[in-house]
């Protein structure tokens, strides 16, 4: 199964120079667990900030999220795979790089994001179809 079948196409962005508090606000409003971080350089120079980053790198350390910039805690550069990549390749990549989210690209354009839950959904669909190449 290709990643484009199970990826999420709705991507929310936050600018790198915004505060972690802005990112938290956006995540709570949109009920999402991660945001793409937009750096002021064109191209594929994106990062990812997750709820995990915010909790462990800021809140659990007693730091004020209004004092810390998104760019300070975001993972950068974000890992990207081609839209035609197989979900088993993505699972290996996630395991090797120890990440839970990977961007999906069509050429230089980011078209989606694939998370662990999407991989699980994809695997269950393959099982139901009787495909077992995962």
């Amino acid at each position: 199964m290709k990643v484009q079948e199970v990826m999420t196409t709705k991507i929310e962005f936050v600018d790198a120079d915004r505060t972690v508090y802005d990112a938290v606000e956006k995540m709570v409003d949109r009920r999402i667990r991660s945001l793409m971080v937009r750096f002021p350089v064109k191209g594929l120079n994106h990062g990812i900030i997750t709820a995990r980053d915010i909790v462990f790198k800021v809140l659990a350390k007693g730091l004020d999220p209004k004092d810390i910039k998104v760019s300070e805690i975001a993972s950068k550069p974000a890992i990207c795979v081609d839209k035609n990549a197989n979900i088993n390749e993505v699972a290996s990549l996630m395991e090797n790089k120890k990440v839970a989210r990977i961007l999906v690209c069509d050429g230089e354009e980011i078209i989606g994001v694939i998370a662990l839950l999407d991989l699980m959904a994809g695997t269950l669909i393959m099982r139901a179809r009787g495909e077992h190449d995962f």
Binding site: E5, V6, T8, T9, K10, A121, L124, I125, R127, A128, R129, G130
Partner: protein, 209 residues
């Protein structure tokens, strides 16, 4: 399995199940055609979807007639008919949505997400066919119905973001807005009805055992 035993009794039952399979396959073709028509913005192909809906009606009438002419034991007939009616309801909604597409113009901002829903509608429909075949073999349907629920959830997620997006699109008159609203509503309802159909297959499967 009990279902296989029932089928082995008469040709009538085999005719019914062959027609039911044909009905679902036709629905898959209609969903595929709908998606292609949207991708290529081909209005002729979209009109063909409406023709397939009429063909689906004809198959539904044949199935119901065969069932009430004596196929299957009486206690099974209402649930089989109900399943066929639910599948036919998908045809109706698909036909209405195709009509809304032909009546209006889909704004560019939401086109790719609408095509994505159309793609998932095809996939969920294919999964319904797989579930139906599994039921005929007397297999456990749990994994199949879960896959259908996963697709349905994905479509729901896209629907909610689409609803937010369309609020930002300027609408010039009442009818333009109504047609667009009906198009999105229809497009996102198809998976709900297919989910109901798969739930009903599960009920039939339990009754058979």
């Amino acid at each position: 399995m009990i279902f296989e035993k029932i089928l082995s009794l008469s040709k009538k039952e085999q005719k019914v199940t062959a027609n039911m399979r044909e009905h679902i396959k036709l629905l898959c073709n209609a969903c595929d055609l709908f998606r292609t028509a949207m991708e290529k913005d081909n209005r002729d192909l979209m009109r063909d979807v409406i023709d397939l809906e009429r063909e689906g009606d004809s198959i539904r009438r044949d199935i119901i007639s065969l069932i009430y002419e004596g196929a299957f034991l009486p206690y099974l007939r209402p649930d089989l008919c109900r399943f066929v009616e639910i599948v036919d309801n998908v045809f109706d909604v698909l036909g209405d949505t195709a009509n809304s597409y032909l009546d209006g113009k889909i704004p560019e901002q939401i086109k790719s997400e609408c095509i994505r829903i159309a793609y998932f509608n095809l996939k969920i429909c294919e999964m319904l066919l797989i579930t139906f075949e599994a039921m005929l073999k007397g297999e456990d349907l749990r994994e199949k119905t879960l896959a259908i629920r996963i697709y349905e959830k994905k479509i729901d997620d896209i629907k909610f973001s689409l609803i937010k997006d369309i609020r930002k699109i300027p609408i010039s008159n009442f009818w333009e807005g109504k047609i667009l609203s009906e198009f999105i509503s229809g497009l996102a309802t198809i998976s709900d009805i297919i989910e109901s159909a798969s739930d009903h297959l599960q009920i039939i499967n339990v009754i058979m055992k």
